[in-house]
Every structure is written in C-alpha cells, then in structure tokens.
Amino acid sequence: MFYTLGTLLGLVTGIVHAVHIIATQSSLPGPNASGQAFYRAAWAIVLWTLFGGYLFSMWVIGLLFRAVFADRGNSADLAKP
C-alpha cells in the first residue's frame, strides 16, 4: 500500500519532470533536439515510476530521522534565494 502510494507519486512526479524536460530541452543545440527531449521525458516517467516507491520510503525515513538528528547536515537549508 505504502509502496504503491510511492509509485503513484513517482508517476506524477515523472510526468511533471517530463513536461519540464520537454519545455527546457527541446531547443537545445544539435540535430533533432525535440525528439531527444521527448525520448528523455519518456525515460524520466519510467525512472520516477520505477523508483517512486523506494524514494518515497526513503523520504519518510529521512523525515523521521532528520527530526531526531536535526543538527547534522543542513545542505538543503543552504538553498536560500
């Protein structure tokens, strides 16, 4: 159930990522850029769906552990504007 939820979330993320790839990579230099972008977008959906369950589980574990060992590491907090 938990894993399936992750897979579904992965699928959704994959679709969003795919749209982003098509939007940003279709005009890259080189021959057949938009074909390449669609191909990469398809892979993004496959990969996110395949690993979604696993990543979601890790995300939840990270959330729990981070609450306990909050003083260790803050790389994402560096993501200030």
């Binding site: 990579q25 890259l28 230099p29 080189g30 021959p31 850029a33 390449q36 191909y39 990469r40 892979w43 993004a44 990969l47 990543l55 890790m58 995300w59 939840v60 574990i61 990270g62 959330l63 552990f65 981070r66 060992f69 260790r72 590491g73 803050n74 790389s75 994402a76 907090d77 560096l78 993501a79 200030k80 504007p81």
Partner: protein, 510 residues
Amino acid sequence: MSGEASPVDYTNVKTAGIIGAGVAGLAAAKTLQAAGVACTVFERNDAIGGVWTDGYLEYGVQVPKELYEFPDFPLPEDTPQFTPGPMLQQYLEDYADHFGIRDCIRLGVTVTNVEQAPDGQGWLVSTSLPGGEAQQHFDMVVVGVGLYSNIPHMPEIPGQAEFSGQVHHISGLKSPDVLAGRKVAVVGFGKSATDAALLARKHGKASNIIVRTLHWPVPRNLAGLIPFKWGLLNRLTVTVIPPYKTMTALERQVHFIGKPLVWLFWRVVELLLIVQCQLWTRFGARQSLIPDEPVEIGAFSEATMVPRPEFYKSVRSGEINLHRGRIERFVPDGVELDNGSRIEADTVVLATGWRSDYGFLSDELQDRLGLEDDGFYLYRQMVHPDAPGLVFIGYASTVANILAYNMQSRWLAELITGRHHLPGRDAQMAEIANLREWKRRWIPFSHARAARLIVHLQHYLDELMGDIGANPLRKTGIFAPLAEVFAPYEPRDYRDIAADDWVKREFAGE
C-alpha cells in the same frame, strides 16, 4: 546573453601572452593557436608541466586516469589506473609535441609585471630571464600560474631555532633519504600529508601526522567496489549537493520538498565512509576520525582528498600515529601541540599546501580585479570587466581540472572567433557578486575559495557549453537518458568540443 553589449571586442585578439606552461597554459596555447592566435608561453621553470614537472616522492594524480586526461588526447593505453606524476609529465610533453606548441613556449622566463598598455589597447608583459629584462605587447594575456605550485606555504611556528632536527616543506621531499631512519611528524591533512605519512611509515623510524581539522576521505572505490566517479560525478549526485548559485522559485520548492531525501542520502554516505575507512572511535589511544563538518559541506573545503587506501589502515594499526591539534611550538626534540602533548620527532614535514603568487599583477590591477582574502571572483571564473583582455585559465579547483581548463580554453577561443559574446559590464558584475555571495555563504574559508567548484564542475561545464552554444547534455546512444543521470561525466565526453569538431556535428543538417 543578457545585459548591454560588452565594451570589449575579443575578436580583435591576434596575439596572446600566456603565463605558465602547466596543464592550463598548455591547454590555452593549443586551443588559441588553433583559433589563429599567435601565442607566446612564458614559463619560469626549465620544463613544461607545472606541478607535474617535479613533485614529491611517489606523487601522482589523485583521480583515476580517465578523469585526468586531455579530452582530445587520451593517455597511453598502458597508463596505470592512477597516473604517476612522472608519467603525466611525459604525457604533457607529448601533448606539446603532438599539437605543435613547443615552439611558442619560452622556458626559464619569469613574468615580473603585467600592465595595461598606455593607450588601453592590450597588455605589456615584462619578463626577466638570465640575459636581462624584456617587455612585450600582447592583445590579450592569459594567466595560467596555477593554484598550487608557486610558493610553498610555510606556517610560522615559534621555536624553530631550538629544534635540533630538520624541517621540510612537502615539495622538498624528493628522496627517501630525507626520511630514512628518522622519527617523522607530518603537519596537515590533505592528500600530500597522507602521502607523506605513508612515506614516513615506509622509510622512517616513526610516522606521526598532526591534524588540526579532519576531512572526509573519498575512497578510490566506494564500499570497496564501485569507483568513486560513479557516486560523485554524475548528474544525480550533482542534484543533491548544496545547490549551484541562485535558484529559481520552482527549484527552491523542489529542494524544499526533497530535503528529507537529500539529508538521508548524505547521512548514509557518511555512514558508508565511516564503516569503509573505519573512522569511528575506538577505546584506548585511538581517536575518532569523523570530521565535524557534514560531508556535503566538507567536500568543498580546502583538503578534499582521495587518500591511498592503506592510509586509514595504517592509522588504525598504529603504524601511523594520528594526533589531533595544532602545533604550538617546536621543542628541541620535537613539537608541542596546543593541547599540551609533545611529539618526539627529528624531521618535520610541512604538508601545508602552496600559495599562488600574483605579484606580477600590480596592486592597482589586483584591486581592479577585486582580489580579497579568499581570492579573485571572476566572471565564469575567467574574466573581469574592469580588466578586459586579461583572462585567467586554471583559476578553478575541481575534481577534474584538466577537463575544466580545456573547456575554459575552448570558451575563450569561441569568444575570440566571435561565436559568443560577453554580456555587458553590469551583467558581469552582478554575476560576480552572485557568485561571491553564494560561495561565501557556505564554502569553508580558504585563500582560494573563489576558485572552488569541486563537484559543481558539472554545473560549470553546462554553463560554459550554454555560453558557446553547445549542447550541455553530451551522452550519446540509445541509453543516453540513463547515462545522463547515472553515469559519470569524463573528459572524453567533451572530445569533440576540445577538438573543435562540435559545430559540424551538433549543427549538422541545419
């Protein structure tokens, strides 16, 4: 490119004076010469190669050979996995011959001064050579003097006169005789310090290493199995390091949501390193070797290193004695640390790094370039709008410098051939300010912090590719999308860019 047009026209550049014949100077000379620029390379040593000319005993490249070769000039097939220094030196000699740049290199010539020509057109380079002094005019000057080789950094430690033994900088460690039968104390904890401690273990009577700040090691093979490039140099890892410069609102959201995952990833990496290199505390005299800084920050500090695999084993077995602390002073028979402990030694090796020498740039010019304690902040790590025509190649510290310097040279050649243009002064200054603010926010201080990119090399290369109009995604083949995410980027991925074949290939059919 945004902003008003740049006031400098690099397409007028016909002559270039290049200072230094290390990897950076050689890459610049080869690339610029091929772009039709008449180059003169000034090298104060009697041989080309820079740091590879004559290193300390058993010195060599830290990273595997496929990460440290010119993209368009592969290392010989029989090169060992980690290229020894003398072999790399020979490879650089072969590179110079292959691309016909030897004739433009002037060995044994030191550049003493660089100043803008009085009419503002180009630069005057003053040199000193055994026969006297000379001055020459160039349209452009390329500074390729390196971050590491110039001046040994020798910290001032009180009491040296009382010390009855010998003190060497690591650069002077050229023969086992220096260590034979001696009780050695090595100061520092970078790659060269760990090498020196291992040499002292092999040739000396006792090997001590004095460590002020611990650093995370990068093992040659992660978990003893996977070459580290697979864990460190792919686009997947690049997404979980502290983000590159300013993020868009969307990127900020993604990073916010991904925080727990990223945090867990790095803690698992730390755990793996702790287990693999046995960094944990043992009871008794042994100490914890776990650094204070989280690994994702520590990886950007001055002493990122890939130690030889036997280093940590030797520390654990007691063959190398590791002492935490700072040297307070020399005593007649050794050194005393700030925690009061004394280490008996008759040879002290200072593996405390090197400092660059920019003395040939006048104070006024250094001010214009905005030199501060942590270095020069430059547009694309190369140019400053207030010193047009003065270009730094090699002012970037990464995991694969040879690749970075080649791509910098290509970027410069493209600027000269007019395939891309610099943005206006304001845009360049804004970018420089952004870079400075970003680095100072989180990269640990060092005198070359401005040059540090380490694994952000990938982002930097993408930026350079974007500027020159090349595709930053360079993996090819049916599995390219997978390779883009998981496979390491290596110099060979940029072969056609370095060889200047890319325009033909990427715009074929257009």
